[in-house]
Symmetry: C2
Subunit: 385 residues, 2 copies
């Protein structure tokens, strides 16, 4: 286990009817609120009204930043920052999924920063302060509700980058708010949270016994509940287990003292910066191919993955066979739940492989399990066609 510093100050408020905690938060953080949300599904399913009723009862002034895109746009973030300044906003409330929360984080740090918020994504600067941020999560997927990461796309330069921004002060997770998530979004969310664990699990760090088991636990729990939630979207327990697992997958609990990878995320960002495909869909395509490309770096790790997570029976098989069977199970699982497994599923051909490979490696080689240059990325993309 490596040295580490862990700190996660987010208050997690989980369960049925927990939106009621919002009143106390107004007392704590103030009445001038920027409400950030996406395409309006929160209006369709009543959550918008519920939030506005609580804020109204508290006498809040609510300014709205609506229409945050999946893969949120830098231009939208800038609009939010302008609103914070012109309206004297006390704190930001994000109601939605990971994209909405990511945009709200960017707004929260950008509003109190002299320079341009893109500095935090292009690695020119690191944020040191932020407006308080609260979230009401509507999608089990990104983990953004309990970490400080944020991914924003600059459409002027076609760059999609992640940066550390700010932890939500609190996040309200009511599994019932995920009942209305459409089938495809549920599937993408599942692929997303599993991918987060993969990024942390495939590591050469020795003596990470507990951390490995915790990661395997998250994967097993997601695998057990995925079809349950897809087949019966109103199954509270399945939705709750997924929502909880998704948050735990990327809140810093899993990788303490572990060297993590994150190459596949860089590759996916490069793909979706050009094609604007769903993040979870891109990850489901890329990860099995990344695994096939890198597993020889540490076959033992892939054997542990195959046997513990996928119950692959190693009897009479070589380590390599066991490892490859585990990888095949990942791909089969994604296929079974209805996730895409080929770039062709999004009608993406080989016309931009070089561009994407370059875009995936703007700061040099990516990943730690195996350092990937642009040429490696191109090969993984080719395998994903």
């Amino acid at each position: 286990m490596n040295n580490f510093v862990f700190h996660n100050p987010t208050q997690l408020i989980f369960g049925k009817g927990q939106l009621s905690h919002l009143s106390a938060k107004v007392e704590q953080y103030g009445k001038n609120i920027l409400l950030v949300y996406g395409g309006g599904s929160i209006k369709k399913f009543g959550l918008y009204d519920n939030v506005m009723n609580i804020l109204g009862e508290q006498g809040c002034n609510v300014t709205e930043l609506a229409g945050v895109e999946p893969n949120p746009h830098l231009s939208t973030v800038r609009k939010g920052i302008d609103l914070c300044r012109s309206e004297g906003i006390d704190w930001v409330l994000a109601v939605g999924g990971g994209s909405v929360i990511d945009a709200a984080k960017a707004v929260a740090v950008g509003a109190v920063y002299e320079g341009d918020v893109w500095d935090f994504y292009s690695r020119k600067a690191r944020p040191t302060k932020a407006l308080p941020l609260g979230t009401v999560l509507t999608l089990a997927a990104t983990g953004s509700e309990m970490n400080s990461g944020s991914v924003v796309t600059n459409w002027e330069t076609k760059e999609k980058h992640g940066g550390p921004t700010t932890f939500p002060a609190f996040s309200i997770l009511d599994p019932e708010n995920t009942f209305s998530v459409p089938r495809d979004q549920t599937i993408y969310g599942i692929a997303d949270m599993m991918s987060h664990v993969f990024e942390q699990y495939f590591s050469h760090t020795p003596e990470i016994l507990l951390q490995s088991r915790w990661m395997e636990s998250v994967l097993q729990t997601v695998i057990e509940n995925a079809e349950r939630a897809i087949e019966n979207p109103h199954d509270y327990d399945a939705r709750a287990n997924l929502l909880f697992a998704g948050t735990m997958a990327l809140n810093g609990f899993l990788p303490m003292g572990v060297v993590t990878d994150w190459a596949s995320h860089s590759i996916e960002h490069a793909v979706s910066a050009i094609y604007d495909i769903p993040h979870g869909g891109g990850l489901a395509i890329i990860f099995p191919q990344w695994m096939r490309y890198v597993y020889k770096e540490n076959v033992g790790r892939f054997v542990q993955f195959a046997t513990r997570v996928w119950n692959v029976d190693p009897t009479g098989k070589t380590d390599e066979e066991v490892a490859l069977e585990g990888i095949a199970q990942v791909e089969a699982f994604f296929k079974k739940i209805g996730a895409p497994t080929r770039l062709a599923d999004y009608k993406i051909g080989d016309e931009n492989l070089d561009v994407m490979a370059e875009k995936a490696t703007p700061f040099g080689p990516i990943g730690n399990f195996k350092k990937l240059e642009a040429a490696d990325v191109k090969e993984i993309l080719r395998m994903s066609l």
Copy 2:
């Protein structure tokens, strides 16, 4: 899974040489420090000097509260509170194990409270503020380094109670600081951290799939590293795995949405309030008997425990047989690592069973897996003789 609110603001600083972080903490929290420690082993092994050198370099005024007892005394806490007031202390730095940290927590909340600090333990009041608290941990055991709990003994009334107090702002965990922990303390620490998981694991809450696996993971990791650390006290990885597992066992990560038990801790507190035995030793004695007394409340849970944690092979056995075999494994494990398994090991006979049973249930029945009245406690103690 039940509704829950989780919040753990402690910054965890883990690994070799991490004491160096202390300098930055002085800048953050101030130079007037109350240093709390125990019987002087930190002087013997150089840690005291290392801490004082760093604080000296920062120009700190250090006031000392030395000699904190195992099962810390209320009178010692009161002495620390007086020192905070008379010396204008900015923050409290605990260097030691769970008892030292528990006492420091009591001091931190007591110093800024108008009333008597015992109010927080006798459940008359709940603390709402505290002096900042930092810890340098020297023993893998109680988890106090990353939670808000504190247990203090009032020797005037022979009462030992736990209360929520304050989270450490930061905790520095260097596995090398546990190399000098004597064999018996290492063993008690192992029994203590395993007991913490037991208290959270034996629950009737449905749909706690991930939480259960995480708890099983902690137990498996402790089981794997226990003998390693006992046999070779300078094995960094074994010490690190235990230290990490002990912190994770009781920092609130495991029981999110889970109804926990804690009856066995109340029973042990009653025993050690009279006999002043080591907490971990008392728990190793009581837990297997508690398990035998309660397992019929949910045999399935004990079957899961036996098969997943202890690899009991269920083939051809009834559920009850599997459950009992798991419990026998707990007792056998404690015996194997050299923990006591009988009250007689501490020369405790049946002379105070009624007194202890009453002391264990001062606020009514205890536990949730099975509600225990004084008569139940007496029977468990009788089984433990």
